[in-house]
């Protein structure tokens, strides 16, 4: 199963974290600090896998992918396939890209609740739920639409401004 999903930037600032096994607010920063420590030691052009037995317990591994200014990290145990996890990160980022139209770090900074919504459609309770970014998008859009029509006037998460201005 997937134990955690972490998004942070290259300076170690956390952008999103989701632990599928409860970690107290006190533990979390420490874990994230150590993950960051492990990631920044990695040279470029090496594999995307890091053994995280010392951080998340034995048998766990993390896969990370570096996009522009962000690290996307998935922590999982041996019931998952490493390469498949790497593609799952790709699915996640692709979906974000579709959702925010050329996603960049600011989008993620200000819309982390939407990130959570997307992630919930991809990973559910630590298991892979959906791997087609189109399907995920459809689900997220449906939620957004329903929420807009619901009683409250403000939108759930407004479309990225670029969308508004581009029109």
């Amino acid at each position: 199963m997937i134990h955690a999903v972490i998004v942070m930037n290259t300076e170690g600032k956390l952008r999103l974290s989701k632990f599928y096994n409860y970690k107290s607010p006190e533990e979390q920063p420490e874990l994230i600090r150590r993950v960051y420590g492990a990631l920044c030691r990695r040279p470029e052009n090496v594999s995307n896998f890091v053994d995280s037995a010392d951080i998340f317990g034995s048998g766990t591994q993390l896969v990370y992918k570096h996009y522009a200014t962000l690290y996307f990290v998935f922590v999982f145990d041996n019931s998952e396939n490493e390469l498949a996890m790497l593609d799952l990160i790709q699915v996640f980022v692709e979906t974000l890209d579709k959702c925010f139209k050329n996603v960049c770090e600011v989008d993620i900074v200000f819309n982390f609740n939407k990130m959570h919504a997307i992630l919930n459609e991809i990973v559910f309770g630590g298991q892979v739920l959906e791997t087609s970014s189109d399907e995920v998008m459809r689900a997220v859009e449906e939620i957004t639409r329903l929420e807009k029509t619901s009683t409250n006037p403000i939108s759930f998460v407004p479309k990225s401004v670029s969308g508004r201005f581009g029109r």
Binding site: S47, D54, V106, S132, D134, F165
Partner: protein, 978 residues
Amino acid sequence: MEQLKTIGRELAMGSQGGWGQSKEFLDLVKSIGESRSKAEEDRIILREIETLKRRINEPDIPRRKMKEYIIRLVYVEMLGHDASFGHIHAVKMTHDDSLLLKRTGYLAVTLFLNEDHDLIILIVNTIQKDLKSTNYLVVCAALTVVCKLINEETIPAVLPQVVELLAHPKEAVRKKAVMALHRFYQKSPSSVMHIISNFRKKICDNDPGVMGATLCPLFDLITEDASSFKDLVNSFVNILKQVAERRLPKTYDYHQMPAPFIQIRLLKILGLLGGGDKHASEGMYTILGDIFRKSETSSNIGNAVLYECICCVSSIYPNPRLLETSAEITSRFLKSESHNLKYMGIDALGRLLKINPDIAEQHQLAVIDCLEDPDDTLKRKTFGLLYKMTKSTNVEVIVDRMIDYMISINDNHYKTEIASQCVELAEQFAPSNHWFIHIMNKVFEHAGDLVNERVAHNFMRLIAEGFGEEDEGADSQLRSFAVGSYLQIIGEPKLPSLFVQVICWVLGEYGTEDGKQSASYITGKLCDVAEAHPNDDNVKAFAITAIMKLYAFESAAGRKMDMLSECESLIDELSASHSTDLQQRSYELQALLSLDSHTVENLMPFDASCEDIEVDKDLNFLNNYVQLSIENGDRPYIPESERSGMFNIDSFKNQDRQESSAHALRFEAYELPKPVPVKVPSSAAPITDLVPVSESIYSKETATASVIPFTSDLLSNDAGVKLRLEGVQKRWGKPTYSSSSGSPVSTSNTQKTSNGISGIDVADHVISIPRDLSYDSTSKQSAQISEEKQKLAASLFGASSSKSGRRTASSHKNAKGINAHTEKSSVGTKSVPRESTQQSIPPPDLLDFSEETPVSETVSSSAPVGDPFGQLDGLLGPTIVTSTSNLTTDTVKPPDLMALYTDAPILDTTSDFTDPSVTNPNLTDLLASNINSHGEKTETMVKKGPNRQASLEKFSTARQVGVTPSGKNPNLFSDLLS
């Protein structure tokens, strides 16, 4: 420039911000983004917490305001601060009717609370209601929360509803319900045992997504108990077949692969079910072969499926043809340029090795390449592989490599692991005693603080017992070698404590055995050691005991030895130590010095750490003494069982029981308090007693009692420390006399029979013969490969290649030439890794645009850092370039851009912005001039025009809301996927 900045700020003040959150929230995020230190960040957050605490408790907060507060709380908690004061508000929000607010509430509670939190009880009711909702999105939201927040106790409250949802018309709900049940199973298997049949049913769901989700719980169930799911093998094979034949809807394709994630799950399950089951495995061979053939090798996910196939093949009942294909694919992985694939290759190789150990030898050079790779992950994986394939022929090379690597890393966790692996391999396969001691010294020196104490005790025992050769000479040679090496090492600074303890023990026990060094020289060294570790009581204890032994041996041998001055001061120091253990040891030493040589020899026999110590439990030798005492009028000893008023727990319990059973008043007088019963003259008697005891009595005792006083302190120490050797289950002496902090005096051994390292194969000294063979053959073939690597390869794989080289050559002939080039015998394949670099470059990942990343990065970084408008230049430039080079909309685009900026204020209807007419021209002017200055560079080609424009748009929005990228991170706006 300044003016523009202020305009941006003003815009931001007026608007609610482009991202829909309030100015306050944006400011918070922004100030955290710009904070330079952790302390500053903490200050900002603490201030925010104060604000929120105040605000959130105000009466009548509008709901949307509350939603924002909660989002801010989530943000605060994400950064590691406590926001528990707001948890109750998040819980309240889950009760809201509006889907938006409810989802926000649910999101917040899943992030805030854990399953054992007190507030959960307030949510369970809402969850129950929502699970019955007609809006499937509400149901989905509730299921998400169920996964996270329902614990063993609350499972029964929601279980019936979740099970009902398995029949929900929406497949998304069914899927999530299956996964929620899976989560229940993980949390408390017993609570869902009765509904496991549902999982079996759900494999037949119409929707492939639901079927795929069902595989997750089934995988867990099968991992637990494969035998009760054997009947499903055929179903799984059929499903896999359908998936592989693309019978699933197109939407399940991923990078031209049909539902790869489902394939991977199925392969994992089949691997479990087929393990050691010939019948079940036979049903899988065909489909596995199909998948091998059909899977794309060009895409990442295709390789993932192939890798999973190899795992499956290697865990089911072996099939030669499939194994051969697996080996081919593994070698393709290993030869790949991608580190990820190499990693998978090494892993796959490790799996295949278990079935066919000869397979490694084809890939020796690839493995060595991985060993020298800069990638740490790959290196570790490779060491794991080497560890698995260590034999007595290659142990030296492998362990040497491991130790070099161990020294080079700082990661304590892995250092410990690799150190214990080294020790294990050295103990199992050591070709010679010298080598073994050398390796152990290295391990202790560099990872001494990390290895288990047991390793040290094993090692000491090995030195004491020798390596089992009958030849005593070899043992003493070994000891003398050890002593020599330790006298050299001992002077070095910063040795790990455990290593120093071992050194002290060996020097004390065998320092003077070979007579090369004088006892006083060694004593001096030991005193230095004790001095160099002023805070380490263990080291001091080992040192003083070693000194005691040296004196004892000298004195027993009839050589008079003068006390060194530093030794005297050490004894003085330790006698006054806070540690009673150290005190006792130093008193023991002093007492020993005053004894005559015969007594000393009995007391401390040479090289007796492994001798049996017979303990006279009845202490018969004291009978005379006891008799004498009784005659003198002392009280006789009363056995414990006959005593009353004892001070152990048992008696208290008994008393309790008696009192509760007999509540009647007691009329007889209470017994007189008895003195604390005279204990058995046990070994716990302080050593000081030894001195006044008259010589005559004492000498009678020495035979058996000799050990007792010296080990006395250890009796109370943990008696359970077991010193175990790998493979040889055997202890140091009786448990009561083994030491933890280790008085080496007590390192006795009751069993002297079997030797520790039974695994050592003495005949394995001849490592050079096979090496020569393969080395010669390799060098003839490939001149490109460096000699060093060949040597390494030869020594790693040497033995196997020499004897199995012929074997594989012939086996390949038998193999019907499936792959022509593998027939070229092992030697031929050795040169392949280098030559094949060009041909095996992986085709570009479809979605991996990483090559283009530098383009955008150079664009943004070429702008002066910290000046956002410089960035604007940089961003604008290429955009124009694109537009002109594409010859499509070159005249249209600049106005578009302009429109962006002129539109902006107008779009913000809520803006208090007062005078757009004044500012807009400024903006446009500036942009126009930028465009002019870059207009000439039309020749340069840049492709990612639209992206850059998009980021420009975002940039402008960001300026409007007052968020500028901090100087430290100018790339905040660069597209992730560019």
